[in-house]
Symmetry: C2
Subunit: 369 residues, 2 copies
């Protein structure tokens, strides 16, 4: 990345052997984008840019830059929202690629949040057995979560992400400028996953978030660059060791998520944003760790204070406890009467605990009623 | 494979690091199938068996064996024929997997020819980001070609295999018994790819085919076991070095295919079977090599004699030469006025020749009119 690191650019190298790639993190600096993409896709002539109705403006800017770098650009827009992560929209994109006579070098560029990245990424993974993919995430959640790891996919009526693949991008371009127009609730929701990285992997980063919470809330560009780069770096270190979720190591990224998935399922998807559910889920998990004498109450309290500062929920709403337990048991395919959880040992380290009794989980949920 | 090699079993190990797998080649011996599959999919509980209307009988036998090995079995059948390699059939199979609450360990078993293998393989590659896949090919072409290499996919109205992935199976089980009921024309068509392996990689194997042509035509089980095992072994040696068609090495497998694709496209798919087009395509390529002084006429003559013995065509029908050239140029995305071909240097070795003039190709096609 030496060619671009002069001007306020953070770069993260994700080391996956032949599938390695770079993530550039910039602030309001689209000019070097063309060269950054071209350096990673030397043989591509056509760039197929996928956006949604909220990000078509950004897609136009991206197309301008790519044209200057010698790409022929075509843009497709899908409706904004989770409903677009479906086989029918994938088919529409396949049809466009066919019309455009896309070849094996055609570059797919996803400009948008997680929905656009997952959908366009799936199409890239499966057209002609895999096209190069470039991600330009425009939401905080997509920047710190789906940019790293190569998971792409669409939903099936029976469940999220059931149809998908692992397909590492050729590069990721993150501009904090996109966050200036992101609605508050969506921005804050993305911070939950950022806090998660601190709890599971990096006590110093957690301390930095506490110390710089106001700058983070004000979306200060320098704070954002650090926060995004560090989150990507931490996730990359995990993904590098367990690319396809085989060794179990990647499981630590699920801290807070067993509870969160249950909150989302029982409340109906869309009631809470994903990050809101994760915030409350982390506090439930931390209280469970307290109950199992893994951590002191102070570990939970630091998380509560930080999440409250970020205006995120720290307890579930009054959903029926039996329904939540049922949903968690289904999620985890656990042995009768026990469940597996990712639990904190301290700020900066978690453990996977296998045989947590249902009764302990119930008590935590009751406490929070 | 030591556990099964006692009784007339050939085994080929395809060495692809963490994606390595074994191909068993047997004759009328289904009894060890359960143990063979179980040894490679220790954690699977459910086997989802996909067949077509011609192979449901075989699927029933397979299910019996897998049940004895402790699998719960469910079977789905798609209509026989190329039309089933489509997104609508993939969606039907996704729906079945969802109904069955398939998990990440659910085994997909493809029992059939190339259509079933490619379709079921694509569904396996994309459900839950990749399920284990077991191939039980029932046509000669599927046994010697699509069992090795991990290419799976479906067709798009604009072209074959445009939607697909690389997904290596967990194992392949080939029983020559399935070939006893295969229609003559389909069986003979599969032999074209077998002859191809001899020409591109193995002069001794080509000699064996010449010497044992009658046994091959009589579908002698021992001859079939050798022929299939050696074809898989030869293809495996190539795929091992170029798993995802990146280095260009895998291109040698396309001997005869540039002409063949043009014959299929210009005549309308289905007029000739794929192997028939490949047979005529190899002779065109060999004559082109003669013209370029790469080989003597004898190299072509040996191929002609063997293919004629196998009742395969050795020249195209009277299709318009300009249409064929146009189709080949599109297929190869070549530079103006020249094309790339895989051409024989002798029986057992080919070269990739980059700048073959259109005029030379035209003359070959005219000669054969």
């Amino acid at each position: 990345m030496s060619e671009y690191d002069g001007k306020n650019m953070n770069a993260i190298h994700v080391n996956l052997g032949p599938r390695s790639y770079d993530i550039a993190v910039v602030s309001n600096e689209i000019e070097p984008l063309g060269a950054f993409v071209r350096a990673r896709t030397a043989r591509s002539q056509l760039a197929f840019i996928v956006a949604d109705s909220n990000t078509v403006g950004h897609a136009v800017d991206v197309a301008d830059r790519l044209r200057q770098a010698g790409f022929k650009c075509e843009t497709a827009a899908v409706p904004a929202g989770e409903e677009s992560k479906c086989l029918a929209q994938a088919e529409r994109l396949y049809d466009r690629l066919a019309e455009l006579n896309a070849d094996r070098q055609t570059l797919v560029v996803a400009v948008g949040g997680g929905v656009v990245g997952d959908l366009a990424g799936f199409v890239a993974a499966t057209w002609n057995r895999g096209l190069p993919l470039f991600m330009i995430p425009t939401t905080l959640l997509a920047m710190v979560d789906s940019s790293v790891g190569g998971k792409v996919g669409i939903n099936h009526p029976k469940g999220k992400n059931l149809i998908g693949a692992f397909h590492q991008p050729a590069g990721v371009w993150i501009d904090t400028q996109y966050l200036t127009t992101l609605p508050d609730r969506e921005y804050l929701s993305g911070l939950a996953e950022v806090v998660k990285y601190g709890v599971i992997l990096d006590t110093e980063f957690f301390g930095w978030l506490e110390a710089n919470a106001d700058a983070v809330l004000n979306r200060d560009p320098f704070a954002l660059q650090h926060l995004i780069a560090q989150s990507c770096r931490l996730k990359a270190r995990i993904v590098e060791q367990d690319e396809r979720e085989e060794s179990g190591l990647r499981m630590v990224l699920n801290y807070g998520h067993t509870f969160a998935h249950a909150f989302e399922a029982v409340s109906g998807y869309g009631t809470w944003l994903h990050g809101e559910a994760v915030a409350a889920g982390m506090i439930c998990a931390s209280r469970l760790a307290e109950r199992l004498n893994l951590v002191s109450a102070e570990v939970t309290q630091r998380q509560v204070r930080l999440l409250e500062k970020f205006r995120l929920p720290t307890a579930p709403n009054e959903w029926p406890i039996e329904d939540l337990i049922l949903s968690m048991r289904r999620d985890k395919k656990a042995l009768a009467g026990t469940m597996r959880f990712v639990l904190p040992k301290r700020i900066g380290e978690v453990a996977v605990v296998d045989d947590v009794a249902d009764s302990a989980v119930k008590e935590i949920l009751k406490l929070l009623e």
